[in-house]
């Protein structure tokens, strides 16, 4: 006799039993928190894109009157040890984070997702071959590979970083999408579609893709979050964009040596990074549960 009672499971069962007539068509509500997070992300993105025309100071401008100063009227987040405005550097720094995050995911998903779907649907030799290759790559720590490549592939540029991280993420994306597709590809409705004479392409687009999309999008968002963090780590190792270009990661890196005198240089970029990641993760999770049609909502 199990002491552990599945509370939601039992209640879910009852709800399922009860609503055998009509399943209530109400997706899990997104909630106000969701929109707040979307708003924050949007703010970051707009800031990144329109930084030039926004009333933000020049991030490279060194104001010798305000070295290592805390927040003030002139510099709302304070300045770093070269007198550069932290707020401006955060806004411009978001460009790096967002570009690297989005760009590498475009590559990762652009290559990994179609391969994963195709492999899971087709199975056979194609699947075995590609999966083996991918798993070999997965076995190798991606971070080390990224570090190694970026160390040697100089001069560094944002594009190179995007490309390297992008390709490094392909095996993981492949695995996630392939697993998700496997779960669906054996369902009766896919077999039914085949049996009706649908072409493979039609099945991939109409039956598989809509069902994979929620997981895919959720993973995409979490992937962006991971990559953004990775960029921060790379910056710590001095492998991100070259100074004086600001990025959240290299701002935190720079703050290491002057932590005692200038806590603001570590505080604000960290805060920006944390909030950005929190929002991404939250949105990713909400999207997943909103579109999860198999969960019965309590």
């Amino acid at each position: 006799m199990s002491e552990f009672i599945q509370e939601t499971e039992m209640a879910q069962e009852a709800l399922l039993e009860a609503s055998m007539v009509e399943r209530p068509e109400k997706n899990q509500p997104l909630g106000p928190m969701f929109w707040i997070c979307v708003g924050w992300l949007a703010l970051n993105i707009i800031g990144a894109i329109f930084a030039n025309v926004l009333p933000v100071q020049n991030p490279l401008n060194q104001d010798y009157n305000f070295i290592n100063s805390g927040p003030s009227l002139h510099h709302i987040f304070g300045t770093d040890d070269l007198g550069r405005d932290i707020f401006a550097r955060i806004v411009y720094g978001s460009r790096v984070s967002i570009a690297v995050g989005a760009g590498s995911m475009v590559i990762g998903f652009g290559i990994g997702a179609p391969l994963g779907m195709l492999a899971a649907y087709r199975r056979g030799r194609f699947d075995t071959f590609v999966t083996t290759v991918m798993y070999v790559f997965l076995a190798f720590p991606a971070i080390i590979a990224v570090i190694a490549v970026l160390s040697f592939w100089t001069p560094r540029s944002m594009l190179k970083i995007i490309v390297v991280i992008g390709f490094a993420s392909v095996p993981l994306v492949y695995r996630v999408i392939r697993t998700a597709t496997l779960a669906i590809a054996t369902k009766d409705y896919v077999i039914a579609a085949k049996v009706q004479g649908a072409t493979d392409r039609r099945i991939l687009m109409k039956e598989l893709l809509p069902n994979i999309a929620p997981i895919g999008i959720s993973f995409l968002l979490i992937g962006v979050a991971t990559v953004v963090t990775l960029e921060g780590a790379l910056a710590f190792l001095g492998l991100s964009v070259n100074p004086p270009t600001p990025s959240w990661g290299n701002m935190i890196n720079e703050s290491r040596t002057i932590l005692a005198e200038n806590p603001w240089l570590v505080l604000f970029p960290s805060l920006a990074l944390c909030l950005f990641l929190l929002c991404l993760n939250f949105i990713g999770d909400r999207v997943r549960s909103h579109f999860d049609v198999t969960e019965v909502k309590l």
Partner: protein, 327 residues
């Protein structure tokens, strides 16, 4: 019911084997039967007997390992690719789990129209009329429910939608793979009646695969009983149920739980478990559980032979002959 024309579906020595070498499992180990146009053949048996695999092999969802399948005189056993797709419209299947046979993210109208859209046979208004017509026929009001998503429906309704979808291309034959097993009794009754009506209206031929003996009898003209990949007995349903010739059929009927407090309790219960399909007994596969088994049963595999017109049995000592010998 004498039908002297060619059968609609002719299956000869069909085998389906999974795996290779030592781990090979022959789920279907050489079966032959015919289905004539307009009839319903019930295929009954317990888990592991190969009835579902047979259905899937006929639909070419799994590949037959050997044997032939002829549909309307055309050998479809080895068809692949484009030619297979063309045949797909003649034979359709309805699955056991009504919920997972429909894409939860698609609307009912689109699901039912899917075959039409694949083949682009009708378009525009004609298409819409056809879809509404189909949905009405299965008891789903297209105006109210047509635009709803498949996930919003109950099991019985999903099964109705599946039926509508399968009829869109007017197939000649419908394979029903445990289609009412997951439904409640009252819903099951509705679906079975619906199936009967549609069969008559569309002139369908059915292969009804199920494990529930009462349901199979209700629906079928003839019934085939399978055990461990082989057909034990095949004959008209009334005859088979009244006077089964194969001992396994008799045990199966004896174990059937009738909703009648006066029904004979505890007929001889079949003891033991079915042997593993990986290592089937030699000769007659049922001999390990058969109280009438003799040496011949271990040495020689019984083949299907007539015990009465239209009634065949694969047994060296069929019950009808035993009892008539005693009498």
């Amino acid at each position: 019911m004498t039908d002297t024309t060619q059968p609609l579906l002719k299956v000869r020595d069909l085998t389906v084997t999974f795996g290779k070498g030592h781990h090979a499992v022959s789920a279907v180990a050489g079966i032959s039967f015919d289905i004539f146009e307009g009839e319903t053949l019930g295929l009954v048996g317990e888990s592991g007997c190969g009835k579902s695999t047979t259905g899937k092999a006929l639909m070419k969802i799994v590949e037959p390992s050997s044997g032939t399948i002829e549909l309307e005189g055309v050998d479809i056993t080895n068809q692949k690719g484009r030619s297979l797709r063309n045949i797909r419209t003649r034979m359709q299947m309805i699955f056991q789990d009504p919920i997972s046979s429909l894409n939860p993210r698609r609307r009912v109208k689109d699901i039912v129209a899917e075959p039409l859209d694949c083949w682009k046979t009708v378009e525009g208004d004609e298409r819409d009329v056809l879809i509404s017509d189909l949905l009405n026929k299965v008891g789903i009001d297209p105006a109210v429910y047509g635009n709803r998503y498949a996930r919003q429906f109950s099991g019985g309704q999903c099964q109705r939608i599946s039926i509508a979808r399968s009829l869109a291309m007017r197939p000649k034959m419908l394979i029903c793979d445990e289609m009412v097993s997951a439904l409640d009794v009252s819903v099951q009754a509705q679906i079975l009646n619906l199936l009967e009506d549609l069969k008559n209206e569309y002139g369908l031929t059915l292969l009804f695969i199920a494990h529930d003996l009462a349901v199979v009898k209700n629906v079928s003209d003839r019934v085939a009983v399978m055990y461990l990949g082989k057909i034990c007995e095949i004959g008209p349903s009334d005859v088979l149920y009244e006077a089964p010739a194969h001992p396994y059929t008799k045990f199966l009927l004896g174990a059937a739980l009738e909703a009648d407090p006066d029904s004979p309790v505890h007929g001889d219960v079949l003891e033991g478990e079915p042997p593993s399909p990986m290592n089937p007994p030699s000769g007659c596969r049922f001999r390990t559980r058969c109280p009438f088994a003799q040496e011949r049963c271990a040495n020689e595999e019984p083949l299907l032979r007539d015990v009465a017109p239209g009634h065949q049995v694969a047994c060296h000592f069929p019950l009808t002959i035993q009892s008539s010998a005693v009498a």
